[in-house]
Amino acid sequence: MGSVRIENLHKSFNGIAALEDVSLDIREGEFFALLGPSGCGKTTTMRCVAGFESPTSGKIFIGDRDVSNVPANQRNCGMVFQSYALFPHLNVFENVAYSLQVRRFYQGGFGTKLAVLGNMLNRKLGRVDKETEKKVRDALDFVELGHLADRLPGQLSGGQQQRVALARALIMEPAVLLMDEPLSNLDKKLRNSMRVTIRRIQQKVGITTIFVTHDQEEAMGMADRVAVMQGGKLVQVDTPTALYSNPGSTFVADFVGSSNIFKGKVKGTEASGTVIQLEGGQLLTSAFSAKREDVEVIIRPESIRLAAGEPVDAGDKSIEGTITMSTYLGPSIRYDVQVGNMQIEVDKTFEAGTPLLPPGTKVYLSIDPHLVVIL
């Protein structure tokens, strides 16, 4: 087990920068997600850690060991590939046994080498030793696939293949587990259950895990910390909750959950916070910010209170608007509200028995100053 430290990583392909000055400190046992849109450099970062790409400059440490120049096959990183990359000609057992067999091949004497190679080329040409056999069986039982040991990968469902890939990566007891979009090939329902399975296994084993994904829901739901990347650079590294409630940029705010993002001007400062002038009205925020006059304001849809008829707050801080669209989302209702020239999205918890407010309804919006982020 080990921590992973990335220092000033740069990577360019044919002169085009794919990674620029990425530095990360991933703690031992941490579940760490790299999140970003495609082409943001998250996969390149992971492939640098795995050793499939060599950095243009920068250093990578696994534990205390500088692995920057260590070949990929000596880094001891278990990897789960997006397509699982199971060996189609080997059955489940042999797939999982592969890393152990490779180890035995390199460490054993000539006789062992021959036996192992024979077995890897054709299962009839050599036996797997008892210890390997037991380890593989245990690993397969661990991911609840013991009964499918003799199947070929092509005969397994997507979820089962996923678990074989996981067992295959874990059995080598890697210092760090790398997962490259491992859920993207599964349907939604399976994805949700695999999310729980992977998280549970990671907790049980306690292994440092780097998880690459473009799906913010996955990253937020599984990771201890998330690094958001954009255009080859790190944008923000934080816990999921901090990322959500305190996005450092409009990009993060927009990428992580849905957000209302407005331009505004700082009007003045009161004892309770800063007052910001938006197009549709004034807004009080508890955040003290911005020497600048022009700011951007980020408000999560569920942070806005909405009331029909009378203003909720007695004060003059509520904003008046008109509903333009109501969308029923199950647990909540999404109202699109027109305030002046602004469109504001508001989420309201759905209460059984209460009808949806129809478009055209006049509403008053008010916002808790604590829940407003200004940038």
Binding site: A50, F52, N73, M79, F87, H89, Y98, V102, L121, G154
Partner: protein, 568 residues
């Protein structure tokens, strides 16, 4: 720095340099030294110059006498120039004729509801499995002075023979009927690809279907047609089997001329010049073909199949069907003639043999079993060598982006068999690497000649293996080499096997290299057939030819099966 260098010198890198060395020794050096010889007029021993001062001095002396004399004799001594001209005429004629013959068939395959498409497609593979010198012999059995076609012709009231088979016309006809499948499938693809909506637009504007075909369909298919025309040109130009059998004494063709200069007179200067010229012509047309298809690669497997409206006009379909049947039938009749001849006691006085016997087969198994064995050993050797080299070349090209190897290994595509043979003989004729006349050089020559085809087969199966499969193996601790052996190798096996069989098959068919390089002890079956024909032992030759064809058909069927039933 030094340590990094030693580390990079892994098993793989060493292997890569070995492959480079192989191509360097047996392809580049021979071609280069034949080029030198064409200027010096005397044999040059490049390897000898490396190890012996004396040879080096001699070589330098020869090189100082460089002249264009040999080339100028090309224009003075009329022989060579005539040979080149005749060969160009032949190839141009064959290329044009094949195109004209094939266009209706290609159209029928691609655009009409012609019946028996499957059967025709199968029959179209027949011409390709028959070595050209055997197909020439087949045409002699049909159209020769005592050929059965001429018997029928005379019975119908004709005088003499339909035409003289041992003539330019004979050679053209054999090549047209036995090379047309090379052009057929690219043209079918070309017709399939051209946009149907444009044709519909044309018809919608009131054009007749004939007009539409000439002004819309044909021009759209043109790049494909031109490209296959050029391909046929190159194939015809390099073909040795047909002219060696059918060319009359007064018809000079460059391949035959080069062969005679080498095998008959050991005229280094002459054969070198002819070799260089053949190479240049083949290379030029190869380059031209690439130029035409550049950026117009017709994806035959990729892309979604566009819905084609098939022409089902009754008259058109039945005319095209009859026509296709006739064209496809002729090569089949040729093979049938050989088969009949292999069973005949004597044949020639009537349209059918006088009697039937199996004694010719007994003869070849009793007297020529050595040739059969030789063929199998030589082809086996070429197979093993090709498998090893092709597998690693495709690995380096596909996975390690080794453009250099890709280039070198495709050079043999443009080298006619006779040219390669002459270059190899010249280079390895003397110590220190005296390999001429050994089975080793023969095997190497076969291997080099068939390498591009083998590599194509292994490369496509290599490309079908996703890169992450290999990365997974490396990630789990395997070195590149171990990953290649335990994962990539087994996954490539069907592709390798198919390619290997094809190498085996083509080696058994190979004529030019065998005739030039095979020592008497190692005479393969094709050489035996050839010698039998020269000695007038026609029936034995037929039996041996049938044996070759049978082996080829069985093995090609196997190869096809292997690529189809990919295990995973």
């Amino acid at each position: 720095m030094k340590k990094r260098f030693l580390e990079s010198l892994s098993g793989f890198t060493v292997l890569k340099w070995f492959i480079y060395l192989f191509f360097f020794l047996f392809l580049l050096v021979p071609l280069f030294s034949i080029l030198l010889v064409s200027f010096t007029g005397q044999p040059i021993n490049l390897f000898g110059s490396l190890v012996s001062q004396k040879t080096l001095a001699k070589t330098i002396e020869k090189l100082s006498n460089v002249s264009l004399e040999a080339y100028s004799s090309l224009f003075e001594g009329k022989g060579y120039f005539d040979a080149l001209l005749n060969s160009l005429k032949l190839s141009t004629g064959v290329a044009l004729l094949v195109t004209i013959v094939v266009i209706p068939i290609a159209y029928a395959f691609a655009r009409t509801k012609m019946p028996f498409k499957g059967l025709f497609a199968t029959l179209c593979t027949i011409p390709l499995v028959v070595p050209t010198f055997i197909s020439s012999y087949a045409f002699m059995l049909m159209f020769g002075k005592t050929g059965w076609v001429n018997h029928i012709y005379q019975a119908l009231g004709g005088e003499g023979v339909l035409f003289d088979i041992q003539s330019m016309l004979g050679i053209v006809l054999v090549q047209v009927f036995y090379f047309f499948p090379y052009a057929l499938w690219p043209m079918v693809a070309a017709f399939k690809i051209s946009d149907l909506t444009l044709e519909e637009a044309s018809q919608n504007l009131g054009a007749h279907s004939w007009y539409t075909f000439m002004r819309v369909t044909l021009p759209l298919a043109m790049p494909g047609i031109v490209s296959s025309m050029l391909l046929i040109f190159t194939v015809s130009f390099s073909d040795f089997g047909t002219p060696i059998i059918l060319a009359p004494k007064d018809l000079n063709l460059i391949v035959v001329e080069a062969y005679r200069e080498m095998a008959g007179f050991f005229n280094w200067a002459g054969s070198a010049v002819l070799t260089v010229i053949m190479l240049l012509v083949a290379a030029f047309f190869f380059w031209l073909q690439r130029l035409v298809i550049k950026g117009k690669e017709y994806g035959t497997i990729s892309g979604k199949p566009t819905r084609q409206k098939m022409n089902d006009h009754k008259g058109v379909v039945s005319v095209l069907t009859t026509y296709s049947f006739l064209v496809v039938l002729i090569p089949v009749l040729g093979v049938a003639s050989i088969f009949l001849s292999s069973l005949a006691t004597t044949w020639g006085r009537h349209a059918l043999p006088d009697g039937y016997t199996l004694s010719h087969y007994l003869t070849i198994f009793s007297t020529s079993h050595k040739n059969i064995l030789n063929s199998l050993v030589l082809a086996g050797g070429a197979l093993v060598l090709s498998v090893v080299i092709a597998t690693f070349v495709s690995y380096f090209v596909v996975r390690r982006n080794s453009g250099g190897l890709d280039f070198i290994s495709s050079i043999p595509l443009i080298v006619p068999g006779i040219s390669l043979g002459i270059a190899l003989i010249q280079t390895f004729n003397t110590a220190p690497l005296k390999l001429t006349g050994t089975a080793i050089l023969l095997i190497i020559a076969y291997t080099i000649r068939r390498m591009p085809y083998m590599i194509r087969s292994t490369m496509s199966s290599m490309m079908a293996i996703r890169k992450d499969i290999e990365e997974a193996a490396v990630n789990m601790g395997a070195s590149n080499l171990l990953a290649a052996v335990t994962v990539i190798g087994p996954l490539m096996l069907p592709g390798i096997a198919a390619g290997a069989i094809l190498v085996f098959v083509t080696v058994i068919k190979e004529t030019s290299i065998s005739l030039l390089l095979a020592p008497t002890d190692w005479a393969p079956m094709s050489l035996a057939v050839f010698q039998n024909l020269l000695r007038g032992e026609y029936y034995t030759a037929s039996a041996m030819a049938i044996l070759i064809i049978a082996i080829v058909i069985v093995l090609q069927y196997l190869a096809k099966k292997l690529t189809k039933d990919q295990l995973y």
